[in-house]
């Protein structure tokens, strides 16, 4: 047993030479480990990164939540070559104002959400200030529930698909757990004015908006951080998660141990930088009627409480922040340094590439994106420029299978491919509404929107959710979707009418039904074994009766009666297509 804590030979220290090798224990765990032969049990073959089935399929599944029926054809009409089509699609998605989104706008109007347009102070007045005796619980959390419903509505119906993918990315990057007071009441503001307002804009601006939001100020406790005892929570996650990343964390030692770049600036941070940042943000709080401050207007706006601020000098990332600076200047200096730091560019771009390309993204693209991120850190469209580098990279267009869809992406894909007809809306009546049925099943995957309790957001590597529960509950969510009906008994996903429209009666064979739905949902036909398996299910095969109906015999799907229940069978078949492994690729 060790008597004293040893120095901390983190990998980073060793690589950086921050500690002399002599200081390492005689048997360096890091080196010994490298020589260790790992035990082997049965392991799945890693899914190879292959060429995509088509560029349309790749683009629609990576820059969006998968194709809506007709999207593949629309993509292919954008140009005469693959390259031209992709370029046109990227250009349009990066200029969302140019996209006609009328069907979505109509849905949004129909949903008649009550809180999505409210200002920050209005949300505070309506949903935070009233006492718990007066305001029903549903009204208190309505802003969160409407944001959740609207997120599904946008993801499913909006043609600005890249915006939706990015909103999900940035919500996770700047994750707040929404089930806390008063975050649920203010979540509309966070979604609209912090995340969405900045996602094609400037990262430095987004950082400041996050740092001044009610949601982040409460989630990471800066709301109560004062010079009397700075709270480190926000400052630590700002450095570790939002900007530099833990890969640039050099531990608890002296700032002198951090290696420097050619300009003499430190390559990363130590705990002391966390403490100095925490001091810099003291006094950044919310106007929440604090007892100590008679000037506090208690209206939920961002509030700088001067007498809580630690006005003395700080040393952050090797730079001197002088004492007695004007209001907010210390914190803004910290944000400037972080936004301009190369480590931030690398960290954020690696995450973006992981989302858009592969769990283990190619370094070349990360570096190219980080170059633009760093060079353009003050540009108003910095982030759009960064996305463009990634989306226009050869690696984006040429790879497939490096990502497995998360439960959110599976659900969104299934709803889009199934052309679902559902205006998502929260409800406080006793009715078990279609939206509630869907959210109830989806939440059991473990990835309900805005419900990850830690500040790092849902993981973006497949190992975390290729779990039995996430898979079974994702399957179940899809199965439920084909089973949900509106109050007037119409299914939310109609499989009958599109089939009747597309195939004449003589062509409604099990074989053709399988081919039609596979093509419609995936955007391409998988191998013949897959088609055959789906077709045999449609042909009433079960474990006692192989292929009750010949695969080439027309099936009457206008009726749903004993013994065959053809319509129910077709719905189940479509469900199986929506649960097939190909749907999980991106």
């Amino acid at each position: 047993m060790q008597r004293r804590p040893r120095p901390s030979p983190t990998r980073r220290h060793v690589l950086a030479g921050g500690l002399s090798l002599a200081a390492l224990p005689a048997t360096d765990p890091l080196r010994a480990f490298a020589d260790t032969r790992k035990p082997q049990r049965r392991r799945p073959r890693a899914k190879g990164v292959t060429a995509p089935p088509s560029l349309a399929v790749a683009a629609l599944n990576r820059m969006g939540f998968g194709p809506w029926p007709g999207d593949i054809e629309a993509f292919n009409a954008l140009g005469s070559t693959d390259a031209a089509r992709l370029q046109a699609y990227i250009d349009r998605q990066l200029d969302p104002a140019s996209i006609d989104d009328a069907p979505f706008e109509q849905r949004l109007a129909d949903a008649a959400y009550q809180t999505l347009g409210k200002s920050r102070t209005q949300l505070w007045a309506d949903h935070v200030l009233p006492s718990f005796d007066v305001l029903p619980w549903f009204e208190r959390i309505r802003p969160l529930l409407e944001t959740e419903a609207a997120t599904f509505l946008r993801g499913v119906y909006s043609r600005k698909q890249l915006v939706e993918v990015l909103a999900d990315f940035w919500h996770n990057h700047f994750n707040v757990f929404a089930e806390e007071f008063p975050i649920y009441s203010m979540f509309v503001h966070y979604d609209r004015e912090v995340i969405r307002a900045n996602l094609l804009g400037n990262f430095r601006q987004m950082l400041e908006d996050v740092a001044q939001s009610v949601c982040m100020l409460y989630f990471l406790d800066n709301v109560e951080s004062s010079d009397d005892g700075p709270n480190e929570n926000f400052a630590r996650e700002l450095l570790e998660l939002h900007t530099l990343g833990v890969e640039n964390y050099y531990g608890v030692g002296s700032p002198d141990t951090v290696p420097t770049d050619s300009n003499g600036d430190p390559l990363g941070y130590v705990d002391n930088d966390v403490f100095e940042a925490a001091r810099s943000f003291t006094g950044w709080t919310v106007a929440n009627g604090h007892w100590s401050d008679e000037n506090d207007p208690d209206n939920g706006s961002f509030y700088y409480r001067d007498f809580w601020h630690d006005r003395f000098s700080k040393l952050f990332l090797g730079r001197f922040i002088p004492a007695n600076q004007p209001a907010l200047k210390d914190g803004r200096d910290v944000l400037d340094m972080l936004a301009a730091h190369r480590g931030t560019a690398q960290h954020v771009c690696a995450k973006l590439c992981r989302r858009f390309i592969a769990d283990d993204p190619p370094q070349r693209v990360i570096d190219a994106a980080a170059d633009v991120f760093a060079d353009q850190w003050q540009a108003p469209d910095q982030l759009a420029q960064v996305y463009r580098v990634i989306l226009e990279s050869p690696e984006f267009a040429a790879t497939w299978g490096g990502k497995v869809k998360r439960p959110l992406e599976i659900a969104m894909s299934a709803m889009r491919a199934g052309a679902i007809n559902l205006t998502f809306k929260p409800d406080d009546t006793d009715a078990w509404t279609p939206t509630e049925q869907f959210v109830y099943e989806y939440a059991a995957t473990g990835q309900r929107l805005f419900h990850w309790p830690a500040p790092n957001g849902y993981p973006d590597e497949q190992a975390a959710w290729l779990s039995s529960t996430a898979m079974i509950m994702s399957f179940r969510t899809v199965n439920r979707l084909l089973n949900i009906e509106h109050a007037d008994d119409r299914p939310v996903i109609d499989v009958i009418q599109p089939t009747l429209d597309a195939l004449t009666a003589d062509r409604r064979t099990a074989q053709r039904l399988a081919e039609f739905w596979l093509q419609r949902i995936l955007g391409y036909l998988p191998d013949s074994a897959r088609v055959d398996r789906i077709a045999r299910f449609m042909a009433q095969e079960d474990h006692e009766t192989p292929t009750a109906i010949p695969l080439d015999e027309p099936i009457d799907i206008t009726v749903d009666e004993w013994p065959h229940y053809h319509q129910s069978r077709l719905r189940a078949m479509v469900g199986l297509v929506l649960m097939s492994p190909e749907l999980l690729d991106r």
Partner: protein
């Protein structure tokens, strides 16, 4: 005896068709039970308290010089030694948070041991995510390791049945890093909803799962994950986890934690070959208003009450028949700062305590050198020191209770083969005692 695998279990039940009722199932489960016994290993239950549980708040000093320092460093947060609620007496000058009362009972029964000032002496980080990753990979300081320590334990165990029906269970919805790389892990949150087909949907005698199984018959990661999930679902359905009556009057607390412990108890009693199970219990990151109501309403108090209640119910439920073959370890990624912050909370610290529970635990004792919390005794002037490597504790359990002599594989580069004597038993190389498994009718 032929091995009973998850696949074999399923094929057996499919061959029987609809006639394969519970009677046939329970025969097979008995077979699995006997098979699991042959390995002679405990089930490991690994509980992770995410967010950095404040060990000093769990075990406040109630006397001696530590108490003086504690009162001065935690003027608003200190748990009083008298009045109501007050710290409970646990062991000498070491007290227990009042909401942890069930732990005192386990301690006095001799089932619960506490190792103090434990952590990662070789890697200091105040990042939750670094610290959790280091601990769970079992390689402090190195995040490039591509499998978790429990995954390596299972893979390197010399006579663990590799084809047990449910060898490893992760309760909840996500696979924790400690199991990263394990090919057979079952994650299970709520068994009653664990079914790809919703109730009321025509299922044509189970055809939909059968077709899904065909669709996921490939050998890539997605197909294997899908197949594992479908197999697991069938086993869970057959085993009937939805109906369960805890034994010995055990009452699990309401909520996910209690449900998860109950599920583990059920699997152990059914003899499905469970070698390891994980439990995640989060939200211990108490920077702000850590515990405004020590009676159970405070943030920390309510978490602790749930944890202590679940551990107590679990041990009680396992009873004399099973508790001796189950070792439960509770740890967190780090402790918290000794000095309270301005928000009546605590920031990220360093050393912490580990709890070890089980029928073969040398409980009712405190282990590990205790550095004290007075000035000059704290790590970097602020934190509880980490004098005992957490791998020393896990390594001893690995060797004496889990029957795995391959410490070097599980904790590569960790050379300390020492043992604190926290658990009973001889080291794995010399063999383990036989176990008794009562199967369905047990307890």
């Amino acid at each position: 005896m032929p091995k009973l695998t998850r696949r074999g279990f399923l094929q057996g039940s499919l061959a029987g068709g609809a006639a394969a009722g519970l009677g046939a199932t329970s025969t097979r489960l008995h077979a699995a039970c006997a098979q699991a016994g042959a390995g002679g290993t405990d089930t490991l239950v690994y509980v992770f308290l995410r967010g950095g549980m404040d060990g000093l708040h769990l075990l406040p000093p109630i006397g001696g010089p530590d108490r003086t320092a504690y009162d001065s460093l935690r003027p608003n947060l200190a748990i009083p030694t008298s009045g109501d609620p007050a710290a409970l007496a646990l062991d000498g000058d070491v007290g227990l948070h009042p909401a942890g009362a069930p732990l005192a009972d386990l301690y006095s029964q001799g089932a619960l041991a506490i190792v103090r000032a434990v952590g990662m002496p070789t890697a200091v980080t105040r990042s939750h995510f670094d610290a959790e990753t280091f601990v769970e990979l079992g390689t402090p300081g190195d995040k490039s390791t591509n499998d978790g320590w429990i995954a390596r334990h299972l893979a390197s165990h010399p006579d663990l049945d590799p084809d047990a029906t449910i060898p490893v269970l992760a309760t909840g919805t996500h696979t924790p890093t400690s199991l990263l790389g394990d090919p057979g892990v079952l994650t299970l949150d709520r068994p009653e909803r664990f079914d790809p087909v919703v109730a009321g949907w025509p299922n044509w005698e189970g055809m939909m799962p059968a077709v899904l199984s065909d669709l996921y018959s490939g050998d890539d990661a997605v197909a294997v994950a899908g197949q594992e999930a479908l197999d697991a679902q069938a086993v869970v359905e057959e085993a009937g986890f939805a109906d369960y009556q805890p034994a010995n009057g055990a009452i699990y607390p309401e909520g996910a934690l209690g449900q998860h412990f109950q599920l583990i108890a059920q699997m152990i009693k059914q003899g499905l070959g469970l070698a390891a199970a994980t439990v995640d219990f989060g939200s211990w990151d108490t920077h702000n208003r850590q515990d405004t109501d020590l009676g159970g309403g405070g943030a920390f108090s309510s978490k602790l009450r749930e944890l202590a209640g679940a551990l107590h119910a679990f041990h009680t439920d396992l009873g004399a028949d099973h508790a001796g073959k189950v070792t439960t370890v509770v740890q967190s990624e780090f402790g918290r700062r000794v000095r309270e912050n301005a928000d009546i909370g605590t920031d990220h610290g360093y050393g912490n305590h580990m709890l070890v529970l089980g029928g073969n635990v040398n409980g009712g004792r405190l282990y590990g050198e205790w550095p004290g919390i007075r000035d000059g005794e704290r790590f970097q002037g602020e934190d509880i020191q980490a004098l005992t490597d957490y791998r020393t504790v896990l390594g001893e359990i690995l060797s004496k209770r889990l029957g795995n002599p391959n410490r070097d594989t599980v904790f590569p580069g960790f050379t300390d083969a020492g043992s604190l004597g926290v658990v009973a038993g001889s080291s794995a190389a010399t063999g383990d005692s036989a176990i008794f498994c009562s199967g369905f009718e047990g307890a």
